[in-house]
Each structure stands twice: as C-alpha cells, then as structure tokens.
C-alpha cells in the first residue's frame, strides 16, 4: 500500500515536472519554424567598395574627398510577404564602416516566402524619446546628441580640399526625428526573387549602400557650400532625402 502511494506520488511528481517545464518553455514564436537570414551591408562609392582614410573619391560635382568615418543606424527590419510579414524584434543595428563585423548580422525569421525587405534608415522616433537605452542604442556608441536629445542617425566624416571649414573637414551628422525636418527614411527594397526562409536553412541578402548618393538626388549639395551639419535642421533633412536612394539589393541567395 505504502509503496503504491509512493509510486503514484512519483508519477504525479513527474507529471508536475513535465507540466511545469513545458509551460515554462511555451513561447508564441517557438512553435513556428524559423530560418536564418543573414543581411550584409556593403558600403560603396558608386560601385566601388568604400575604403576609409586612404582612398580619394570624387562626388558628382567633381569635388574630391576622403572618408574617415561612416556610421549609421538601420532599424525596424521587416521581411514582407503577401501574408504574415516578419518584423525582427528589437531591431536596432549600428553599422560602422570601421568595424566590418558590424556590417553583417543574422536574424531568425519565421519560415515563409518573402518578396521585399524594409527598414528605417535611422532610429525610430519612439526610441529617441524613451530614455537610456543599451546595446546598439547605448549613448556610449557616440551616436547620441547630449544637448538636444536624439540619435545621430547617420554620420559621415572626412575631408575635402573643397571644404572651407577648419582642416578642410567634412562632417555630416544627420538626425532629427520629428517635425518638418524629420530625417527618418523608410526604405523598402524589392527582392530580385522570392526569398524562401526554411527551417534549418540560411539565406543571404546583400545590400549596397552607395554614399555617392549623398550629394545629389533630391537636392544638389556641394561640399563647397555645405561642408558640415551637426544638428537637426533643413540641411540634415536634405542629405537624408538624398541618401534615401543609397540602398539597393546587390544580391540574394536562397540556400
């Protein structure tokens, strides 16, 4: 009798353990099959990969320049499908041309067939007004204005003989998340073919970011007249409207 009670207790205990463990592990996404999508950004000047510091480039107005720093935020990445588009949770990425590892990252997306990718070039307005953040959004990354709260969405620094400011510097710190000079750009890029995300498989998307687009497109911006902006405003907005066109899909692989 005693041993029966003991046995049934053990069985019940085991049931409890199973129930507790399984309920702990239950998560809305875990039932869904996911595949890995690696997204890589390739910074270029026209079609040539950007090299910091040592290579001289020429903008559409024939003005020569060097780039010493290029950093920008990509956030709210979404893979779009006719049904059940996938939004990467906590999607904030700081890309730094000086740190190649930052230019490529993987996301685990729900298995589905996707036809386009969209993202915000910049950090969405909500995260600009929500206090101290961490990770890619840590103010220690040097992409946060301390005197006028908000993220520097895009930062290009370098020099050019055409620049009339100190040390022939060029310095574009682009930001501002509200009002008429909101620089946030929602980018949507059609994929050249259907992206099949499948469980246990890896897909690759390569996106070109051509900084030659900075100077032209919506507004003609010459280094001679506009060598720098370091605050939200009209010039920041013009540059952002130009770089809206800098992103294109280079290639894509279903593996």
């Amino acid at each position: 009798m005693v041993s029966t009670v003991k046995k049934s207790a053990v069985v019940l205990l085991a049931c409890f353990v199973i129930i507790i463990c399984s309920s702990n592990k239950k998560h809305p996404y875990q039932n869904k099959k996911t595949g890995r999508v690696t997204i890589s950004f390739i910074n270029t000047v026209k079609s040539v990969p950007l090299v910091l510091d040592s290579v001289e480039y020429s903008n559409p107005f024939g003005e020569a320049y060097h780039v010493t720093k290029l950093k920008y935020y990509i956030s709210n990445i979404k893979l779009n499908a006719t049904q059940h588009s996938f939004a990467e949770p906590g999607s904030y990425h700081l890309l730094d041309a000086g740190e190649p590892s930052s230019l490529s990252f993987a996301i685990d997306a729900a298995a589905n067939t996707y036809n386009s990718i969209s993202f915000i070039a910049g950090v969405d307005s909500i995260k600009n007004v929500s206090g101290a953040q961490s990770g890619a959004l840590d103010p220690a990354n040097g992409m946060f204005w301390t005197w006028n709260s908000g993220y520097v969405m895009f930062k290009l620094e370098g020099n050019s003989p055409a620049s009339t400011i100190i040390n022939h510097r060029i310095e574009y710190h682009i930001g501002g998340f509200s009002g008429p000079n909101n620089v946030l750009q929602l980018i949507t890029l059609s994929l050249p073919a259907a992206l099949h995300v499948q469980e246990g498989k890896n897909c690759d998307i390569f996106i070109t970011a051509d900084i030659d687009k900075l100077w032209q497109g919506v507004s003609d911006l010459k280094i001679t007249t506009t060598p720098a902006t370091m605050a939200p405003g009209v010039l920041s907005k013009k540059i952002a409207d130009n770089y809206n066109r800098m992103f294109t899909i280079k290639e894509m692989h279903n593996n």
Partner: protein, 339 residues
Amino acid sequence: MVFVCSAFLFIAASKKETDPYKPTYLTLEIPKGWPKPATNIFANNPLTEQGFQLGKKLFYDGRLSKDGNFPCASCHQQFAAFATYDHDFSHGFNDKFTTRNAPPLFNLAWMPLLHWDGGINHIEVQPLAPLTAVNEMAENIDSVLKKLRKDTAYPKLFKAAFGTPLINSQRMLKALAQFTGSIISANSKYDKVLRGEATFTPAEQRGYTFFKAKCTGCHAEPLFTDNSFRNNGLDINPYLNDYGRMRITNNKSDSLKFKVPSLRNVALSFPYMHDGRFYSIGQAIDHYSKGINTNQPTLDSLLKKRITISNAEKNELTYFLITLTDTTLTKNPRFSLHQ
C-alpha cells in the same frame, strides 16, 4: 502527498537561485491636490530603494567627472534646493564656467522637457549633457564606466538595484533618474497653509493675492511653472548670444524663449534667469515692472504691458515667494550624501 512533493519541489527551485533579486519597490508619492505627472518617468525604470540609493551614490560621486572634482552635486547643492547657491554660472572642469544658470532639481517627474531650452526629452538621458560637456564634468561615458567597474562597492550596488553586477550606461542613467526623479518639494509654508497646517501673515496673504492675479499665467500652481517656453523680455547677453529654445527647434518664433522656472524654493535658487543676471527677488520683480524689452517680436503676450506693481506690493510679493522655501527638501537626510 502530492502537495508535499510539489511544495518540496518549489523550495528546491527557489534554493537553486542563489541570492535572488528582491528589490524593495517604491511608489512615487503624488502630493495631495497635485495633478498626476503627464507621463510616468519610471514606466520603464521601476523605482526601487536599491536603485534610488545607487543613484544617490552616483549623484555625489566625483568620479563621474574627468578630474574627480565635479560630481552632479557640485552644481546641484541640496541646501540650495539642488541649484548652485549664489552663482550665476557654475564652475566646471579646468576653471571653466557653464553658460547657463544651474536649475534647481525637484518635482522633475512633472517636467516633460529638461534644461532651459527644453533640449532634453527624458530624465534618464539628461546626465549625459553635463557629464560630457567640456566646461562641466568633461568626461566620456566609457571612462566613467571603467572607473565604476574598478570600484569594489559599485558592482554589488548595481546587482542590488538591477539584479546582476553589470555596469553599463543604461543602468547608471536609470539609477540617477531614480534619485533625481524622487526629489519632491511639497512641504513649504505655502503647502502647509493650503493643507490648513499653517497660516500666512497678512503681508504674505496680500502677496499671494497679488501673485494669483499677476503671476500664475506662467508660474501656475501647484508646481509654480506651466513648463512652457516664453520670452520674458530680457536683453540678450552679448557674451552668450543665447537664443534659448530656438537652438533646439530651429524655429524663429522660439527665439529668446526659455523654460518658465518653478518659483518653489526661489529664495534659495538665486541668482535668477537663464544667465543668473538678477541676484535678488527684488531685481527680478523690477524686471517685470520696468525692465522688459517690449521691442522683441517674440515677447510673451502676457508681458507686453509689463506688470504694474507698487513698492508695498513688491515687498508683499517677496514675502509670499519666501513662503515657497521648503526646508524639508533642503534638510532631508534621504537626499543627503551621508545617510
């Protein structure tokens, strides 16, 4: 039997976690009769005793500045209601001056935008401004964090406040916000009179009547500010060329506008105005009666005709303003370094 087994399991599970994270949660007390803050500054930063204490230690720690001499508290002194006592501009690293008068710190939970120009949109990111300004604490975030990580006490305090000993900028800033956001001033003589615990002298009462008639258009009770940005007709200081809010909004209509400061503890927070140009309450009142530059296009509409005030009214108004001094704030050991 089942109950016993599951109870045993529960105990085993809780014993497994060594040193569990059990902070003491606190609630920000809203003084009676006050409006609720428009947004909850602690919505994503649960207020705890451990977080508050860590924030206090950071607030008083000189290591947040480059040379160790300039903690937050060097410009925000408790005995001056957390303003800089008797200074138009505060002193920063390498014998530099700030370019604006340090505001007092209290009732920040009701302040949607910080700084004289409203450039700071969240209490958590405010410390980044003085911390990195070359004329203030002159530091950078990484360097401060390195100093804190080397300290023997901080990892334990961060663990108590946030669950793990990780020290990063987000936690440092959230802890500071827990301290500064908890500072409330609501126990001045004025507050006691409103609660029926004290009475105004006849002169103070007349001053209060004048105040309600002429001043609450901007300095609205009970916070004694409406947190708006207004041009009160000060001539521009040619050394500073400070156009206030326009620097933030790029909007010409914001030229020369500054945040309406709270008048709570005004007797302690002298000198007055964004550049501390007036050293006495009397000088500040004189500005509104005869100093306002009425030629400025963005001058506030309430001040176009200046404010008429007799000498007797000026004295009475001053007596009333002194009733806004809250010694419970200035002497509260909870906000002091050694408590």
